[in-house]
Amino acid sequence: MEHYNMNLNLKVWRQKNTKSKGEFKMYRVENISSEMSFLEMFDVLNEQLIHEGEEPVAFDHDCREGICGMCSMYINGKPHGPWQANTTCQLHMRAFKDGDTIVVEPWRANAFPVIKDLVVDRTSFDRIIQAGGYISVNTGNAVDGNALPINKDKADASFAAAMCIGCGACVAACKNSSAMLFLSAKVSHLALLPQGEPERHSRVINMVAQMDKEGFGSCTNTGACEATCPKEISISNIARLNQEYLVASLTAEK
């Protein structure tokens, strides 16, 4: 692919802290290489802002390899930008043309309050995982990896669900700000394996209860989450979660 440089107009959400009212600000960046990643382009913008004595734009990032789930920008109406199955850090500037105006917003959901600029607080996801996203393991020597036979299809489905990096793009894309795709991935990857069996019922009940407490909306099966997910988590996990919940709540002793 041909390399080219571009000049861009950026319309970026700026917000001092959780309590203050934010607003969009326009910036111009020049000579951006088509080989840069979107976050590198933001690094250029921030260098420029620091040079001009302005506060740099705060944004989340960590591995910049598409596997940590930290980056979280809503770019031109789509979480993680225009490419499919992709994170913002892996979005390259060749996705844009010279002279483009790019609108960058933070994830919007009350359960993800803005901390500053494009950084949102996603600890609600951590609390959902703490409520049940674990398994019990006996202490002592590690068990041989192949000691327990596991159906291949189930193992594959479990691994596919375990791909979730917890970035929150599903919540950002959902019209109801529902965390169901995230939750369903976390419940499914354990429910499909024998290791997840002991806490199977309490897990789904407790994790759904925590999700509700955090103020996420309810799922209406529109499919927007699946389409935007950088790890292509299937919406069929949500149906599996519903089944897990129905069975767990109907068979609960108390």
Binding site: K78, A224, N237, Q243
Partner: protein
Amino acid sequence: MTWKQMFTSSVGKKLVMSFTGIFLILFLIVHAGLNACIWAMDGGVMFNQGAHFMGNNVVPRILEIGLFAGFILHIVQAYMLTIQNRKARSVGYAVSYGNAGSKWYSRSMALLGTIVLLFLIIHLSHFWFPNRSHQGFLLGEEINLFDTMKEVFSNLWVVIVYVLGCISLGYHLAHGFQSAFKTIGVHNKRYHAMLSGIGYTFSIVIMLAFAMMPISFYCGWVS
């Protein structure tokens, strides 16, 4: 886990929507089947017999209470969920997400449902209220429901409103049918593909069946 905890959780509320939705889908089949008697071409004799049975037999009258309960639960729960879902995002986006991955009608269930509800009120005031109030103990003489249909559907505007109501119902079902089964936990791909197919077919058939009733009367296709 108490029953209350179960049905007030976000998944539990969806289960209520799903169960009542499937119940109302079954009602639509009965309703369309019974109304199809207008096409018996016998001057409405068979249709009026059906209407008489539904109004004067104790079994359908008791079942009717369950039907109203189903409608009310579905409608009230839907509005409560819609309000709750809207509250989950107080600051909206400058650029909206659009159509990626989702159909417009799947995102517009509340709007489509409201149109269906308004249509339902009009529909009940045309037929159910006058019919039931003249059956049994209230206002004496049972009305000729076939003649009432003929009269109501001689007005072009009424026919247009009914057809629009049926189209809204069709789109509501196009999402609702398959979504209801996802909510009760159908995640297997082959069942899901089958239910999607049945759902779309059902939506089109029900929409056409009901829309053809006022059209048939207006165009004089029934005698």
